[in-house]
């Protein structure tokens, strides 16, 4: 069984949010409902250089969506068995089965499931399954003007980008859920730890 995943080069990403918009467009989501979100991370401080204080700040962007975990926490807790993994490792929600109990929202570390008030259901990134099955690429990957994103079998992505990792600030520690997203760390931050700057937006 294949396991699809995403790779994002955080040095190339400029935070234009084209991926977010393409995802929203394809999913038909209303404003404020995002399956893919772009986190704006920043930090830094003033540094004394000689007699002067100069700003020494950094910022980078982290596009994130459902990571289609190999061991997804949302799947076993769902009371309706609406969540499943398909033969490509895509974690899907059967919206006809879902009753909108929010339990998957409570379980996901990265806030991927989104509740739809009007329909009374939860839904999330489905890896653009219909497009991928027809031989295309997920909308987010296709839309990226910087070509910062890639998709494919996660083992192939890992082989192509051996330096890539999931341990990126500010993403929560993956525990044993095995998220299938790989990031090439942004080098601007160095050893410094930033914080999410667009908390309200995401």
């Amino acid at each position: 069984m294949a396991q699809y995943g995403f790779y994002v080069d955080l040095n190339a990403c400029i935070g234009c949010k084209a991926c977010q918009m393409a995802c929203k467009d394809r999913a038909g989501n209303e404003p404020g409902m995002n399956w893919r979100r772009v986190l704006e991370v920043g930090g830094g401080d003033w540094q004394k250089v000689g007699q002067a204080w100069v700003p020494d700040v950094f910022a980078y962007f982290v596009p994130t969506a459902c990571h289609h975990c190999s061991n997804p926490p949302c799947l076993p807790v769902c009371p309706t068995a609406a969540i499943s993994k398909d033969s490509n490792g895509i974690v899907k929600i059967d919206v006809e089965q879902c009753i909108g109990c929010h339990y998957c929202e409570w379980a996901c570390l990265w806030g991927a499931p989104v509740f739809y008030e009007e329909q009374g259901i939860v839904n999330k990134c489905d890896f653009c399954k219909d497009i991928v099955d027809a031989g295309g690429s997920p909308a987010c990957v296709e839309a990226c003007p910087m070509r910062a994103m890639e998709w494919g079998d996660v083992e192939e992505l890992r082989a192509r980008h051996p330096e890539a990792t999931f341990q990126i600030v500010p993403l929560a520690d993956p525990q044993d859920f095995q998220p299938n997203a790989l990031y090439k760390a942004n080098t601007a931050a160095g050893e410094r730890v930033g914080t999410i700057l667009n908390q309200e937006e995401i």
Binding site: R37, L39, T64, P73, P76, V77, C78, P79, T80, A81, A82, Q97, C98, I99, G100, C101, H102, Y103, W106, A107, C108, L109, W110, G111, F115, Y116, E117, Q119, G120, I121, V122, V169, P170, L171, A172, D173, Q175, T195, I196, I202
Partner: protein, 334 residues
């Protein structure tokens, strides 16, 4: 931490569920005690009417939970994953408790029939009924305990632990079981008082029988007060241990919870502790003292009602705080 104003349906559902299970089990204990001390007839007189309140409460709880889910008409889908989902198990247990407890209550209600009407039931069935009743009561009690366990495990589930750090502590199941015991026993105290006052108001009951009921009521109320004092003791040992866990755990969410408990939710937190301590501690001591005496019975009954109201109000605020500890969107560990 956030203001969980969308979670009132869950708060009501959980409180009613715990209260009903607790009342059912406490009622069983009280009934058993009354049978041993006097007779089955006196025990039935004491407990049957109190039992009949639980059914409508459970139905109310079920209606309340529909407010939480987005598609209540698909409620039966919630039974699809009992293999791995504690939420599915909770729903299944709640339904089973409602059905089995309901069947037991119907059989128990037959004891309220007049002797003439009871004689119309054929003898073989009459002989079998008590055995079936006891079997159903045991099954309902066990299913009820499983319901409380499942309800606690929804939040204490290790698969949620890395995100819901405010729930990932043994304090969660302790809270649920203490609530069950406190609310169940105190509401039963109120039910017994109401039942006794109703019996006293009826002219048909013999004075000797009424005197037995009065003595039984005082014994049961004393038992309720001792249970409350014990349970509130457990809670007040568990709370500091939980707070130390929050303080010692490096997860920033826990620091946030502690901060909110001492700022935005400080009044809620104070009221929750004050009401629980007043109802299940201070008033319970007075109730235990008064139940030893045959004077000041009206004061005793008033105290029982007041203790229940205090504990119920404290539990409502406590559950509100419980859902306030639900981590909202947490993409990162910050």
């Amino acid at each position: 931490m956030n203001y969980p104003d969308n979670e009132w349906s869950l708060i009501i559902f959980n409180i009613i569920g715990d209260l009903s299970v607790g009342a059912f089990i406490a009622l069983g204990l009280a009934h058993f005690y009354a049978v041993r001390k006097h007779s089955t007839q006196q025990a039935d007189l004491l407990s049957t009417r109190a039992l009949l309140v639980i059914g409508p409460l459970l139905v109310l709880g079920m209606l309340a939970v529909f407010g939480h889910v987005g598609n209540p008409e698909r409620a039966f889908n919630m039974l699809s994953n009992v293999d791995t989902s504690w939420l599915a198990r909770e729903v299944a247990a709640y339904g089973a408790f409602l059905v089995i407890g309901g069947a037991f209550a119907i059989l128990q209600a037959l004891t309220l029939l007049s002797p003439e009407r009871q004689k119309q039931i054929d003898q073989a069935t009459r002989g079998l009924l008590p055995k079936v009743r006891i079997l159903l009561a045991w099954i309902a009690a066990l299913v009820g305990i499983f319901f409380v366990l499942s309800a606690a495990m929804i939040y204490y589930d290790p698969r949620l632990a890395s995100r819901q750090t405010g729930w990932a502590h043994i304090y969660t199941p302790i809270l649920f079981f203490v609530d069950t015991g406190l609310l169940g026993s105190l509401v039963l105290g109120v039910g017994f008082v109401a039942n006794y006052l109703w019996l006293r108001g009826r002219k048909q009951i013999e004075p000797a029988s009424l005197a037995i009921q009065e003595a039984l009521l005082r014994d049961v109320i004393k038992g309720v007060s001792f249970a409350s004092i014990g349970l509130i003791g457990v809670l007040f040992v568990a709370i500091p241990i939980y707070l130390v866990y929050l303080g010692a755990n490096p997860n920033p969410l826990n620091a946030q919870i502690l901060l909110m408990l001492s700022t935005d939710f400080a009044l809620h937190w104070f009221l929750r502790l004050f009401l629980a301590f007043t109802g299940a501690g201070v008033l319970a001591v007075f109730i235990a003292y008064l139940s030893e005496r045959s004077q000041r019975q009206r004061l005793l009954y008033l105290m029982v009602v007041l203790a229940f109201v205090c504990v119920l109000a404290g539990e409502v605020i406590g559950r509100y705080l419980f859902y306030a500890r639900n981590a909202t969107l947490m993409i990162g560990g910050m």
